[in-house]
């Protein structure tokens, strides 16, 4: 395949901004193809974090001194940056949390407190454990039930079957935007429309979408949308939950503590308005600052361009891997986001991962925290290569060469 120069980013220039990419692993140049697990961080994100600690570090809110004023300003600006990234109407619709997992736990707790026996929560077969387990815990507390929307064999959602699950009992539809295990992009707009028609609240797990697609929460029809900073070239330990403001206002708090209150006496507490209501304790200020810088970085390049580049790499990978005897690629052929999940007959993914690593190629092998999906595909695990904006066609070739080595070492 000829790489379309129209869509080619100046990859080498971007690569130079990522210190971790410039290293040898076991004598080979690192080919980091594990971006769906976490991305590397550009220098400007690392610098924003250390600049904050070197110059502006103080606790936020209510501080009267200069440093606290600066830290508070940076924290608020970060919130506004995330709001514009997601297409929210106002910064107050953004709650800073540890990541997507905490966001879904918050919703399963706070939104889940309204569930009654017989109520239903609709998930899909594609879900990550982080969008399954919190709901199972909510069901144990409330007597609500989980219904699971099936997928087709190609890893795309069976929309008709999904619609068939919806009824007046459906209170929540919680579904991922992009599958971390297969790269499938879910048609959120259609999913949300049908859910709203049934009177359900729509939660979107955007952990895997945020690095690859432009997101407009309003246009998508998401009532809540969660993502993690570390998958968008930002630091670990910070993520955000978007919630339509009127929904956040009605929502009871999750964790109690400082900063989430309006007034406390031993007789009782009045909670603060959102987003403060959901941010008990000192927040991850440096994380928010780093995340905002990461978002500015991807926005300057443009998510459309990043998405097109990753699509190019994905196509190259399908071509390069398609000819390898015994290799099956799981999930959709196209319309997917930067993930190539595969099996090689006679080779367990874990062995594939080890052998590729000896050639500097970093992939992930395992169930990708989606065991129900693995069961649906009829495999114990898969090997997964996942791309980011800094990956190159040469790295895709290194993967293909590495797989030939896998076949040789394992005698396939």
């Amino acid at each position: 395949m000829v790489v379309d120069s129209e869509v080619v980013l100046d990859v080498e220039a971007f690569r130079a901004e990522f210190p971790a990419l410039r290293q040898q692993v076991r004598g080979f140049p690192l080919a980091y193809l594990d971006n769906a697990a976490t991305t590397q961080k550009p220098r400007r994100v690392l610098e924003a974090i250390s600049r904050f600690y070197e110059r502006d570090n103080a606790n936020v809110h209510r501080g009267v001194h200069e440093l606290s004023v600066r830290a508070t300003k940076l924290y608020h600006e970060a919130r506004a940056t995330v709001a514009s990234f997601l297409g929210a109407e106002r910064p107050e619709e953004i709650v800073f949390l540890r990541g997507c997992t905490e966001a879904i736990n918050l919703l399963a707790h706070s939104l889940g407190s309204r569930l009654r026996p017989g109520d239903e929560i609709v998930l899909s077969e594609l879900e990550h454990h982080s969008n399954i387990v919190p709901w199972q815990m909510a069901c144990e507390r409330t007597g609500a039930k989980i219904r699971v929307a099936p997928i087709h064999d190609d890893g795309t959602l069976d929309l008709e079957a999904y619609r068939g699950l919806l009824s007046e009992r459906t209170k929540i539809v919680s579904i991922l935007h992009v599958s971390n295990a297969l790269g499938t992009i879910n048609p959120i707009r259609e999913i949300a429309e049908a859910a709203h028609a049934a009177g359900a609240t729509v939660i979107v797990d955007g952990a895997q979408a945020a690095p690859h697609l432009p997101i407009g929460v309003r246009a998508l029809g998401a009532d809540f949308y969660a993502f993690s900073g570390h998958k968008v070239y930002g630091p670990t330990g910070i993520g955000a939950l978007y919630g339509r403001y009127e929904l956040l206002e009605e929502l009871p708090p999750f964790l109690g503590g400082g900063d989430m209150i309006a007034r406390v006496t031993f007789e009782g507490t009045t909670y603060a308005k959102p987003p403060a209501r959901f941010e008990a304790g000192t927040p991850n200020i440096s994380g928010a600052v780093g995340l905002a810088e990461a978002i500015r970085f991807v926005q300057e390049i443009g998510l459309e361009r990043i998405g097109r580049w990753e699509e190019t790499l994905t196509k190259l990978a399908h071509e390069a891997l398609g000819d390898i005897p015994g290799l099956t690629i799981h999930g959709p052929k196209d319309r997917k986001a930067g993930v190539v999940s595969f099996s090689l007959r006679g080779a367990h993914p874990h062995d594939i991962g080890t052998i590729l690593d000896t050639q500097g190629v970093a992939i992930r092998a395992g169930h990708h925290c989606a065991q129900p999906l693995m069961a649906r595909l009829g495999v114990p695990a898969t090997a997964r290569a996942s791309f980011g904006l800094y990956n190159t066609p040469e790295e895709v070739q290194a993967l293909a060469r590495g797989l030939e080595e896998v076949r040789r070492v394992l005698g396939l």
Binding site: G346, A347, H348, P349, H350, D351, T354, I355, T358, A365, G366, H367, Q371, M374, P380, A381, V409, L410, G411
Partner: protein, 149 residues
């Protein structure tokens, strides 16, 4: 690359492709399940223990080449051994795959287990090599589920 050849040597590939003592054991009197949450490997181990000795042993499950070969080699090594001997072999085997002991002199009797010595160069794969052994220990201690985590 030589580390890799050491890891995936002929004995390992052979036991991976044609595992010995695979299947259920209808008259088993001790059973345990093992999981490696890291990679999703899982196996069920069936034991027939008589007079403090492992009279028969079989395993079922799916896993990587290292965990499958290790389970297969283990069943051959422990059959006919007493529970105390098994504990001692595991102790030495663990030292071998973690690189804590050279182990050569320990394993004159169990030459085939030496095939897994290459694992010590791949610390993340130690759990694959020891899953069957942890499961065996679990079975001897009364059954249940063993996890490498």
């Amino acid at each position: 690359m030589s580390d890799l050849r050491e890891l995936y040597q002929e004995v390992i590939l052979d036991h991976n492709h044609r595992p010995r003592n695979q299947g259920e054991l209808p008259d088993a009197n001790a059973v345990a399940e093992g999981h490696n949450p890291l990679c999703g490997d899982q196996l069920t181990l069936y034991l027939k223990v008589e007079d403090g000795k492992i009279a028969d042993i079989r395993f079922q499950g799916c896993g990587c080449a290292i965990s499958t070969a290790s389970a297969s080699l283990m069943t051959e090594a422990v059959k006919g051994k007493s529970v105390d001997e098994v504990r001692e072999i595991f102790h030495r085997f663990h030292a071998l795959v973690t690189g804590e002991a050279e182990g050569q002199e320990f394993f004159d009797e169990f030459d085939s287990l030496m095939a897994l010595a290459g694992v010590k160069e791949f610390p993340v794969r130690v759990k694959c090599a020891t899953l069957a052994w942890h499961t065996l220990q679990q079975a001897l201690e009364g059954g249940g589920v063993a996890s490498t985590e």
